[in-house]
């Protein structure tokens, strides 16, 4: 019973990871690729680790698995946010079918500071606004 449960947990984790890799290979844009990879890969690692914990069924193994899951759930959004922010500053082009860019004109290009003001374009001289 526990063996079947662990096998199916590991299988669905691997399925989520395969879907994440498929999205990374097929999506048209850096940010859509990041959207595909981060969430599904985190869920996939969590499911595979849960399956391994059910398979072994020891207290030391379970503690290690919980530590890995907590660590991945804490660090994956941080790493994705830092990478997406850096890519936006570096000027990675959006997909040509993108409808709106909510951050456009709200970043000071020199200090990398976010300003959520309506009249932000008047606050900076020409050429200082990241587009």
């Amino acid at each position: 019973m526990a063996q079947d449960l662990s096998a199916w947990l590991i299988f669905f984790g691997a399925l989520f990871m395969f879907i994440a890799a498929l999205g990374v290979a097929r999506m048209p844009d850096l940010f859509t690729r990041m959207h595909s990879s981060t969430k599904s890969a985190t869920l996939g690692v969590g499911l595979i680790m849960l399956g391994a914990a059910f398979h072994f069924g020891e207290i030391g193994m379970t503690m290690r698995v919980i530590a890995i899951i907590v660590f991945v759930f804490l660090t994956a959004p941080v790493a994705a946010h830092m990478l997406g922010r850096a890519a936006y500053f570096a000027g990675v082009p959006l997909w040509e079918g993108t409808l709106s860019d909510a951050l456009r004109g709200h970043y000071d290009r020199r200090t990398h500071r976010l300003i959520s003001d309506e009249k932000v374009e008047e606050n900076f001289p020409e050429g200082d606004i990241a587009v």
């Binding site: 299988f11 985190t42 530590a67 570096a90 000027g91």
Partner: protein, 89 residues
């Protein structure tokens, strides 16, 4: 039996990540591919630990998850501090 199907899915995921790392038009695309490649490798090591019955491999997965996070953060810092000077417009 189902674990070998799982190994096949994860190897296909590794190949798709390698395709993005080789093809990606910009440096952040390649970093996204490398980040996902590290996550898939953590899962692969865990599945191998279940197949071989050795608990010690889970420690390897822990260390790899730590180092992958540090690598991604280092790449993001490098890109934000002007790692792509050919893209200044």
């Amino acid at each position: 039996m189902i674990l070998w199907l799982t190994i096949g899915l994860l190897v296909a995921a590794v190949l798709l990540c390698l395709y993005r790392v080789a093809r990606g038009p910009s440096l952040p695309d390649r970093v996204v591919g490398l980040d996902l490649l590290a996550s898939v490798t953590v899962g692969l090591i865990a599945v191998y630990a279940v197949l071989s019955g050795e608990i010690i491999y889970i420690d390897v997965a822990t260390v790899l998850a730590l180092i992958a996070f540090l690598g991604t953060v280092a790449f993001a810092y490098f890109i934000e501090k002007g790692g792509m000077p050919w893209r200044k417009t």
